[in-house]
């Protein structure tokens, strides 16, 4: 093994030493077809030594295919690749590694239960003649690399315990250890916080200083403007242009990428929040997969006509919170109330409801993982359009499915929400593009006319055009006085689309923010747990239950009071925040509101909500029809 490793290093060194060509990599006239489509059509791309080159394009534009060809995962139908001026025949990732090309995939190729060091040396292990591993031999070398590039990587920490940013650095170290000169990154910033993105961009600049060349795939225009030297834009498998970043701007890039002008910022009216539609109190969720409580005593309200966004770094309990709200997973404890929008209807306690009862009560859910939850991929489009309603009256009659009714309903949604597919209602969903699959889900959920919409990462993996469309639909739902609970990992989306941001960190809500009043950097501090806000405890819904009034109204009134307190007097925990935040003042307001809470508590009622939900559900169901 050791001699193999030596050979590899030797090979890369000889190649790297050849400075005859101005370009480190030249891809000439690359074409690649898959059955039914031409993914790459006569693409030429040159990488200058020591530049940061961005590859920009929508989903399905052929970026990943092109990179897979360069990295040896696919072989091109036509075209040639030159590395350092010499024709290269890259048939496998091993060939690419020998030529000094390394790739960081979007989903990291790391072994979770190995340490950083073990992952770095994996595949190029320092072993002696009889095959005994000697990691210490190269440890120093890797530590030097870490120091040189200011990577704070703990080599003895297991990958599963590392934050995502550190995992990414392990991936980069893996390439550097193998003396890679050309580093390919596939959407490297998709999973990072703003701070981590800044760090990564600094690493990029340092790597380039050392003579490395970086090629990164992205569809985030701001990053490209910030860090790249040149950018190549792909559309529908063809090169639109390669230009210097200095000579262009975001608008032009997006036009090149999509082929038309795109609104990059969501256009929306100021938000006018109305009554509370959803109240969550002290919700705890225990995850059996992670063997711990992932949602801890979460309480919040969602109001009609407002987009409430749950932000946070992936894996801080947001997904489990949504599962508990929609009934996909059982909550350990806590209460969930939904306002009944029907006249004189009583509010509905959801926490003991099944998924179907929640659906009928008025919860629409755009799931985070559209392939896992949102769609039955092998069903046709029309069956997916009635996935939650197939048993209801027009679509089914005494147990028999009415295809005719389903078909015409599906056609209606397809037209209304502009879902494009090969065979209309009869298309198999698996064959549709991701954007149209998502549009189908969005259309289906919005058309159910529910008072509450829970949208989880509604634009994940979609291109600018589809994002624009879906954002507009969500804003439209808000303007129709629906309550919208948005879960998003994309910070731009969080800042752009939401009217109110709740930040989740380690299963708790640590901040309640107004997107207009905070910066991206500040949001990042809350998300990474560096900062937290002391939130006032929300009034208990049950205690505010008064005969003759609906429950949630009182909760709203009390909450408004609570909000005033919170806005004027954010309680301060760490010193850093203390400097920025205004001095605490207005003690009276707080006491006043406390007094009101006590009054509310003194009006207990013997009626409980649990007795009525079934009746209410039926009403709700009829309303939808």
């Amino acid at each position: 093994m050791l001699h193999l490793f030596k050979k590899k290093v030797a090979a890369t060194e000889t190649v790297a030493a050849d400075p005859s060509s101005p370009f480190v990599v030249e891809m000439r006239h690359i074409s690649k077809s898959f059955p039914g489509i031409k993914a790459n059509d006569d693409i030429s791309l040159e990488l200058k030594r020591g530049e940061i080159h961005a590859l920009l394009g929508e989903n399905g534009a052929g970026k990943s295919t092109l990179m897979s060809i360069l990295f040896g995962l696919y072989s091109p139908d036509e075209g040639e690749i030159f590395v350092n001026g010499q024709k290269a025949n890259i048939k496998s990732p091993n060939d690419a590694t020998k030529l000094g090309i390394g790739m960081v995939h979007q989903h990291f190729m790391l072994i979770d239960c190995f340490t950083g060091l073990e992952n770095i040396i994996l595949g190029a292990e320092p072993v002696d003649k009889i095959g005994v591993l000697h990691p210490k031999k190269v440890r120093k070398q890797i530590e030097e690399l870490c120091e040189h590039y200011h990577f704070g990587v703990d080599l003895d920490m297991k990958v599963q315990d590392m934050p995502v940013g550190m995992q990414q650095k392990v991936e980069i170290l893996k390439m550097l250890y193998r003396k890679t000169d050309i580093l390919i990154f596939d959407e490297p910033t998709a999973v990072l916080t703003p701070q981590e993105i800044d760090e990564l961009m600094n690493s990029f600049r340092e790597l380039v200083k050392e003579g490395k060349t970086i090629l990164f795939i992205s569809h985030k225009l701001n990053e490209i403007m910030g860090v790249a030297d040149r950018v190549t834009v792909l559309r529908k498998g063809k090169v639109v242009n390669t230009i210097n970043v200095k000579d262009t701007n975001v608008q032009e890039l997006s036009r090149m990428m999509v082929g038309r002008d795109v609104q990059l910022v969501v256009q929306k009216k100021p938000c006018e929040p109305k009554k509370t539609i959803l109240s969550v109190r002290d919700l705890c969720v225990y995850s059996h997969a992670k063997h711990k409580e992932v949602v801890k005593n979460v309480s919040f309200d969602v109001r009609q006509g407002e987009i409430t966004c749950i932000a946070g770094i992936e894996g801080n309990g947001q997904t489990e919170l949504i599962y508990a709200l929609t009934g996909l997973e059982k909550a350990k404890s806590g209460k969930i109330y939904l306002r009944n929008v029907a006249e004189n209807g009583e509010d509905i306690q959801l926490d003991h409801f099944s998924v179907r009862q929640r659906n009928e009560a008025g919860v629409a859910h755009i799931p985070e993982d559209r392939h896992r939850y949102g769609l039955v991929l092998d069903f046709d489009l029309q069956s997916n359009m009635v996935l939650e309603r197939y048993y209801q009256k027009p679509f089914s009659n005494i147990g028999w499915i009415n295809r005719q009714a389903i078909h015409s309903y599906s056609d209606k949604i397809i037209e209304q929400y502009d879902v494009r597919s090969g065979k209309g209602s009869q298309s198999i969903v698996r064959d549709m593009s991701g954007g149209n699959q998502q549009k189908a889900i969005v259309g289906r959920e919005l058309d159910r006319q529910t008072p509450l919409l829970i949208a989880c990462q509604p634009t994940r993996g979609l291109d600018v055009g589809a994002i624009e469309y879906i954002h507009n639909q969500i804003v439209k739902a808000r303007d129709e006085d629906k309550g919208v609970l948005l879960l998003s990992l994309e910070l731009e989306e969080v800042m752009n689309l939401s009217d109110r941001i709740l930040v989740m960190y380690e299963g708790e809500i640590v901040a309640d923010l107004n997107p207009k009043e905070i910066t991206l950097q500040e949001l990042g501090l809350y998300m990474s747990g560096a900062k937290r806000m002391e939130l006032p405890s929300l009034p208990s819904v049950e205690n505010s239950l008064v005969a003759g009034k609906t429950v949630l109204d009182d909760a709203v009134a009390a909450e408004k009071e609570a909000n005033i307190v919170e806005k004027k007097e954010p309680e301060v925990e760490n010193a850093k925040e203390a400097q920025e935040a205004p001095e605490p003042k207005q003690e009276e307001v707080k006491t006043e509101s406390d007094a009101q809470k006590e009054i509310v508590k003194e009006n207990p009622s013997k009626r409980t909500l649990k007795k009525t939900p079934r009746k209410v559900t039926k009403k709700g169901g009829k309303d939808h029809e």
Partner: protein, 399 residues
């Protein structure tokens, strides 16, 4: 995945759209499996005895059609494996592998036999009893899977042996059933009303009963349930994507249990159709404690070859029964196990149905000679207005 619609589609001709119809693809892929299986069987014959092989193979192929009686035999004997095939196909549609067809078949047979021989019940009641017996045996792996996440393959296989043991025990312990050691009493002697009626079909063959007709009707009913009812929608949704079914508010636990119960009931009816068939009823049953009846496992072949289509099961059951029957036509130069081998190969290839289907989807409509002579097919495959289909392949191009 499949974010491919943005990219220019290659047009397709009319021929190609014909080849993309789901049923055409299914039928074609099954036929391909059959042809390949027969071919491999022939090669094996050639390997064993090159001289005798062609004649023996030809006589085997012809054997099923020698006279009216042999054709009739294939028809009426295929009823039990059609039922077990339906059972397996139904479970497959629900996303479960019911390998316990044999046990459920035995369960049904036990109930029907007890009903016929001990309680002297008429045949429709015996079939109903068999339905209950099969359903009881079938629902156990379903319950275990739904509530305790027990692997259905393991629990169903274990059920096979348990039920086999129970059947043996019932027969051994009851002198009314057991006549001589290792053989049961003849149902037709003690309770003629339990033997399946012929309703005029005896004109074709004295053994030809309505068993095959019942099985065919049940196949159509299963198809109707799967395609036209809420229950079918739920079961298929659970089978294709359990998580999405849960998201849609479908009770997936209920559906797993229900699917296994229905599947078991179907296999159980198969057991009754065998026991109450004149051929079996007249001779008594061989109850040596040797092994599990092969019909249960033949059902898996039937379902796989039919691509889990209930209607297709009718044809594949006939075909597999035909091959089994034809074994006797091979002649003395070869062992009679050769047809079993051919069935094995066919099933082996039938499990490549998905692969064959992919190949058809990829190359269907593009005649192979064009692949050979022209390196690049023209961008539009046909002159007739090509339908704009986004993609055919399921390749993940974008990622």
């Amino acid at each position: 995945m499949s974010d491919t619609a943005n990219t220019a589609p290659i047009g397709k001709s009319r021929v190609s759209t014909f080849f993309h119809k789901p049923w055409v693809v299914s039928v074609l892929s099954s036929l391909v499996s059959v042809v390949v299986g027969l071919l491999v069987g022939f090669i094996v014959l050639v390997c064993i005895n090159p001289q005798a092989a062609p004649a023996a193979f030809a006589s085997m192929i012809k054997f099923g059609f020698t006279d009216k009686n042999s054709v009739a035999n294939i028809f009426y004997s295929s009823a039990p494996i059609l039922m077990t095939g339906l059972a397996v196909a139904f479970a497959f549609k629900a996303g479960s592998f019911n390998i316990g067809g044999a046990g459920q078949y035995m369960g049904g047979a036990t109930f029907a036999f007890v009903g016929a021989a001990l309680w002297k019940l008429p045949w429709p009641v015996c079939i109903l009893l068999a339905l209950i017996g099969g359903a009881l045996v079938g629902c156990i792996p379903g319950v275990l899977k739904a509530f305790f996440n027990v692997n259905e393959v393991l629990s169903a296989i274990m059920m096979n042996w348990i039920v086999q043991g129970i059947f043996y025990m019932v027969c051994q312990s009851n002198s009314a059933i057991l006549v001589t050691d290792g053989a049961t009493t003849k149902v037709s002697n003690i309770n003629p009303s339990a033997v399946l009626p012929t309703w005029g079909l005896e004109g074709i063959d004295p053994n030809f009963t309505i068993g095959f007709v019942i099985a065919c009707i049940l196949a159509i009913i299963v198809w109707l349930v799967l395609e036209k009812t809420n229950l079918g929608f739920e079961i298929k949704a659970c089978g294709l994507n359990k998580d999405a079914a849960k998201y849609a508010g479908i009770n997936e636990k209920k559906n797993i249990i229900l699917a296994f119960t229905i599947s078991g009931a179907l296999a159980g009816i198969g057991g009754a159709l065998y026991i109450l068939m004149p051929a079996a009823a007249n001779s008594g049953l061989d109850i040596k404690y040797s092994g599990i009846p092969s019909q249960g496992f033949d059902g898996i072949s039937v379902a796989l070859l039919a691509n889990n289509n209930p209607i297709g099961c009718i044809f594949s059951a006939l075909f597999i029964q035909y091959l089994t029957y034809s074994g006797t036509g091979l002649g003395s130069a070869f062992t009679h196990k050769i047809p079993a081998l051919i069935v094995g190969v066919i099933v082996y290839f039938a499990s490549f149905v998905a692969f064959v289907r992919m190949m058809i989807l990829r190359y269907g409509g593009t005649p192979f000679w064009r692949k050979w002579f022209k390196k690049k097919p023209a961008p539009t495959g046909g002159t007739e207005a090509p339908k704009a289909e986004p993609t055919t392949g399921k390749e993940d191009v974008s990622k």
